[in-house]
């Protein structure tokens, strides 16, 4: 053993070559599957992209660092399915740029949050978490009551469309008005939102006030959309297994 090492040690170029080979194998295993990702990750047929208002909420979710404490991925473990619902599929976040799976759970996972609580609960909880969950350690976000800046929504949709998210031209053109209409169920544009994004899209005054479009509207709309963009995980859970 000693002699072998003694001799090997002197072949420095051989060592360089061996390091390159070993590292390449590691790289190959991690990188090669990405070349065929379009074919290997099935995007569910019924997957819809986020509406402009939900997208604005998603940006605020990122801005406030919610992902630092909340994951959005139910892992494929029996007790996770029992607690949260069907495990997350790669295809579910095909339209997410960037994805927000996360791995740190200081708070609970949010992947199946949509529809679990009422809008009012979300508003109360974001403004003062302790008012509804006394033991909560989540920070308060009272400033979400300020008006939502919709100025960049058009460009955001256009950018995502270039990345492959199926926003058509009508969606991009109406980004700003759709964002406003989704929080005003009685307005003229409200129906257009469900025509463009599907009948399951929630059109409500998410913060309880249809008069002003606030960041709260956007965040609550986003939270209520989590896990509702496709039924695929529920179909996978119900599948027959060998």
């Amino acid at each position: 053993m000693l002699r072998l090492h003694y001799n090997l040690e002197k072949l420095s170029m051989g060592l360089v070559g061996a390091i390159i080979v070993a590292a390449s194998i590691g790289g190959l295993v991690e990188i090669a599957p990405l070349f065929t990702i379009d074919e290997t990750v099935a995007v569910p047929d019924d997957l819809r992209p986020h509406t402009p208002l939900e997208l604005a909420g998603r940006e605020i979710y990122i801005r406030e660092g919610c992902y630092a404490c909340h994951s959005q991925m139910v892992r494929s473990l029996a007790d996770e399915i029992d607690r949260y619902g069907p495990y997350s599929l790669a295809g579910e976040s095909a339209y997410d740029h960037p994805m927000l799976w996360g791995s740190k759970r200081t708070g609970p996972d949010l992947a199946r949050l949509g529809g679990k609580y009422s809008d009012l609960w979300h508003v109360e909880h974001l403004v003062d978490p302790r008012s509804v969950v006394p033991a909560s350690i989540m920070p308060a976000y009272p400033w979400l009551a300020r008006p939502l800046d919709t100025g960049l929504l058009h460009d955001k949709l256009a950018t995502l469309a270039r990345l492959g998210v199926p926003y058509d031209e009508a969606m991009i053109a109406a980004a700003k008005t759709d964002a406003l209409a989704q929080s005003r169920p009685d307005s003229d544009g409200a129906e257009a939102v469900t025509v463009r994004y599907g009948g399951k899209v929630a059109v409500r005054a998410f913060d309880g006030d249809p008069e002003t479009l606030t960041e709260m509207d956007a965040v609550v709309a986003y939270l209520q959309s989590l896990g509702t963009l496709t039924e695929a995980p529920y179909r996978v859970l119900a599948e027959d297994r060998p």
Binding site: H5, V29, P33, T36, E39, R75, D82, S118, E124, V133
Partner: protein, 290 residues
């Protein structure tokens, strides 16, 4: 540097030296510990075995499946179904259509209540509080006051379809009376605020406004109990508060409380179990509150 073949053994440790010599200082060539070499060898061996048995190498559009044919998704779903099957033994009984009869089965109830408690904590406590004490805009479940009924089957219906959540939900809509003049609203609010005290002036103009606009849902004199989602205004059960300022706010903006529908998220048996738990909460604690 000296020659490669001159082995020189250190008398103290018994190891070779490297043969390097810096002004008389020599370096020991202590061999790698055998244990580490063995662990490394075993780790290599394990990885080879793992490649053969488990999913491992990417092959373009697929991957090597491994001889054991393990799939993490299948593992998880199978495990989940096992958990569900274990519960099914006693949980099945809660699918019974007559859930009120289950209430009498104290043995079964005692067995099921810890599971009901956990379901409640996971799903209901966020709004209704861990002991059903309610929250801002969320009803108290432990006080024995009901908008519809405290009967377990009725509670199960509320849990299943929610309130103002979808087409099948119970409806509880307090419209905004912002078409009334501010003075009328203030007067009405003052009247409603005095209703629980029982000394409201039934001949006042506000009382007339009340019977014209409010009594259809809240009952004559605000006694409620019509089962249309409008609370009695003569007890202290009003969710949002019954002081004049709060009532004025309610009159101006309306109320549209939402309870999500749990059908789909929870099974029928789980919904019935929760209904019995909630009915029990009200029964055991309601008497104290009243």
């Amino acid at each position: 540097m000296s020659g490669t073949d001159t082995r020189e053994v250190d008398p103290v440790t018994g190891h070779d030296t490297t043969g390097h010599n810096w002004n008389g200082i020599k370096e020991l060539n202590t061999p790698f510990p055998k244990l580490v070499i063995w662990i490394l060898a075993l780790a290599f061996l394990y990885s080879v075995v793992a490649w053969i048995l488990l999913p491992a190498w990417p092959t373009g559009r697929d991957y090597t499946r491994g001889l054991l044919g393990l799939d993490q998704g299948t593992e998880a779903v199978t495990g989940f179904r096992e958990i569900a099957a274990e519960r099914q033994g006693w949980l099945d009984r809660f699918e019974a259509p007559d859930i009120a009869a289950l209430q009498a089965d104290t043995g079964l109830m005692r067995q099921a209540m810890p599971a009901a408690r956990r379901l409640f904590d996971d799903n209901c406590a966020a709004c209704h509080g861990t002991s059903g004490q309610g929250g801002p805009g969320f009803p108290v479940l432990a006080d024995g006051y009901w908008l519809w009924s405290g009967d377990p089957a009725e509670i199960a219906l509320t849990i299943r379809h929610g309130i103002n959540a979808n087409e099948e939900s119970r409806i509880a809509e307090m419209p905004a009376f912002n078409w009334m003049s501010a003075a009328e609203r203030a007067e009405l609010a003052g009247y409603v605020a005095t209703l629980p005290k029982g000394d409201a002036d039934s001949d006042s103009p506000a009382a007339a406004i009340f019977s014209e606009n409010c009594a259809a849902c809240h009952g004559d004199g605000g006694t409620g109990g019509l089962g249309v989602g409008a609370p009695s205004l003569t007890d202290v059960s009003v969710l949002y508060g019954q002081d004049a300022a709060t009532v004025l706010q309610t009159l101006t903006h309306g109320r549209h409380g939402v309870m999500p529908a749990w059908a789909g998220r929870l099974s029928e048996a789980e919904i019935n179990l929760l209904a019995l738990y909630v009915a029990d909460l009200a029964e055991t604690k309601g008497e104290v509150a009243k």
